[in-house]
Symmetry: C2
Subunit: 376 residues, 2 copies
């Protein structure tokens, strides 16, 4: 295998597959990146226990300016290899597999000889079947991920809750995540539905996927296999394992009748929560208190050592019973950030029942739930 | 004490004094910032065992837009206080000392009440005497610091070596630092010399000083007291303790006759050293080898596990005996970065004697010394 190509183009592919490569793996060959060169172009593969990423750089890519002298494959230690490529002196470099799996990396007057591993020993990626596919624009998929993934559980005590539950039915795709203290559920309309599916994708995989999808205008093709999901773009295959087990029925958690409602603009409400949480973070319980009265909505935070804060909040509408309710401000911050710059309706039953947050605007199926903290 | 003022102006002063405030101090009041309000303006003070910083915001500063209702002083926990100020909703805020050392911080509809400490219990800063002063432009002083401070020792086994040695004589100011493996010495001409001085300032203090001096055009007035040095600008007093003890005579370390000389352009030499050190960092010894021959200068790096690199270096002149010499590339990188974008002459005696680096340009009194590593 011998090829000369543009360093920046190669570096970009390498950085993408590196998202899947961990230096902490117990399988030594998985600390490496697999490089496969055919007459069509260069394929890079990185993998860990949860995800695998494969990118393809075509020989027809003009910027890559690829000159293939001989095809082949090799595995190189990913961290070093990328450090070396990054620091090479010239715009192009040459990669050549020598004898005994040694690899020469040459650019200008700099000559590296590094030890490689046999690509035949690299694990095989799942075989893609063509059924059960759906397509989404990148910006729709990444938005859906960002609106839900923050609510997955960080604890392995209930592994199924560390994933986001996706349900595809005829005309809509539902995504829901909960760590049992808060929940975020988003439903988006889809035009071109494949067979229905019902899967749970690890939150960590979705975060890496979202970071790897940089071209907002591209289309992602999603294929479900037995225990894997594949997200496919023109230049990248992103595989993730699926979580096994039954996801809890979240529909029954969402209340439908309420006694108190307040409407806020998200940015100003978020700023107030951030101020109040400065002090609550120092307290033993990390809670803030919201007091809703017919003529005022006031937010309180305090820490016995540092001091206290109170702030009369701006709101656009308020109705129903007066209420004093306490909650973890960190859940509220994450929820508000997921809504972004919009107006929301917060609906309460009582001080001890979960409350909901929804966009004020009609027709956006996005609901969040936060469980309050009982203070007496 | 009660004052209303511009939040951004105040925040800037607060960030400067925070450089001197450590949350790890054993003296609780030193985790706080001292705020003193007079009819002239607002003074902030922060301090730790090594340095103290005092800033002054004048009532005449238009941007600060200060409205003083009553004067006084208080000490507030610095980290929280700055987090609070940073997150306040409006452009201005009001600070008011209430009863029992409680302090109200108000901005828009946000009201904080935090616990303060009695300013009378805050330690006094050294009294400034007016003798033994000299003046330097900020950019000259920070350059002098950056050219030397990286070479101070990081180990407390010989405390005096953790500082930079400054010697002011009639027409020049010398700064020298060494950790006994490498040395950096810079001499700059000074016009307006005060009484001679010979002091050692802790490296850490100089790094903080350099970061605090943001206005390159300002003039710094340097005053030496018994065991303190004061750097004074229009808006800041920066005090540091001096290190006590005799600094070693570094002049006798610098050789004067050599057998091999090579001239390099710093940026390309640095890039080659960085490449070679990628592999040497993985080896047991972290060394690279430079081979100087009449027709080529080659740099080698290797790690038994990863691989090796060799690079034929570009150089502008070379003379003297052939030589093979090994050294720690990290010392070389730090030395080259201190020179910046210029051409340097590297002069060697033998593979086991320290070698020197100097600007090629005449008249710049800047010399560095690196001790090689014996490899056999």
């Amino acid at each position: 295998m011998k090829v000369t190509l543009n360093r920046a183009s190669f570096m970009q592919e390498l950085q993408t597959v590196q998202r899947a490569i961990s230096s902490k793996t117990t399988i030594p060959i998985l600390t490496g990146v697999k490089i496969t060169l055919t007459q069509e172009g260069l394929t890079l593969t990185g993998s860990n226990a949860d995800i695998s990423i494969e990118t393809f750089l075509s020989v027809e890519n003009e910027k890559a300016n690829m000159q293939i002298e001989s095809t082949g494959s090799i595995v190189l230690q990913a961290r070093f290899f990328s450090e070396i490529i990054r620091r090479l002196p010239e715009e192009t470099f040459t990669l050549e597999v020598l004898e005994n799996k040694q690899v020469a990396i040459t650019s200008g007057k700099a000559n590296f000889i590094v030890n490689g591993l046999d690509a035949d020993n690299y694990p095989h990626l799942p075989v893609v079947e063509s059924h059960n596919q759906m397509k989404l624009p990148v910006h729709v998929l990444t938005k859906l991920i960002n609106e839900t993934v923050f609510a997955v559980s960080q604890h392995e005590s209930r592994p199924i809750l560390t994933g986001v539950h996706f349900i595809l039915s005829d005309n809509s795709l539902l995504a829901v995540a909960t760590d049992s203290h808060r929940l975020s559920q988003r439903v988006i309309p889809v035009e071109q539905a494949a067979d229905h599916f019902d899967i749970v994708i690890p939150g960590k995989s979705l975060i890496e996927l979202s970071r790897s999808l940089t071209n907002e205008e591209e289309i992602v093709e999603i294929s479900i296999m037995e225990n894997q999901v594949l997200f496919k773009t023109e230049t990248m295959y992103f595989y993730s394992r699926l979580l096994e087990g039954n996801y809890p029925d979240t529909n029954r958690l969402i209340p439908s009748s309420f006694n108190t409602e307040v409407e806020f603009s998200v940015p100003s409400f978020l700023a107030a929560i951030e101020r109040a949480s400065l002090l609550s973070h120092e307290g033993r319980n990390n809670i803030v208190r919201l007091s809703i009265r017919p003529d005022a909505v006031v937010l309180y935070g305090n820490s016995p050592e540092i001091g206290k804060v109170e702030e009369s909040l701006s709101y656009t509408a308020s109705s129903g019973d007066p209420l004093d309710i306490s909650f973890n401000p960190d859940y509220m911050k994450a929820a508000l950030r997921a809504f972004g710059d919009m107006s929301i309706k917060v609906k309460f039953i009582s001080a001890i029942r979960p409350f909901t947050l929804e966009p004020t605007e009609d027709g956006v199926q996005f609901i969040q739930l936060i469980t309050p903290v009982r203070t007496n």
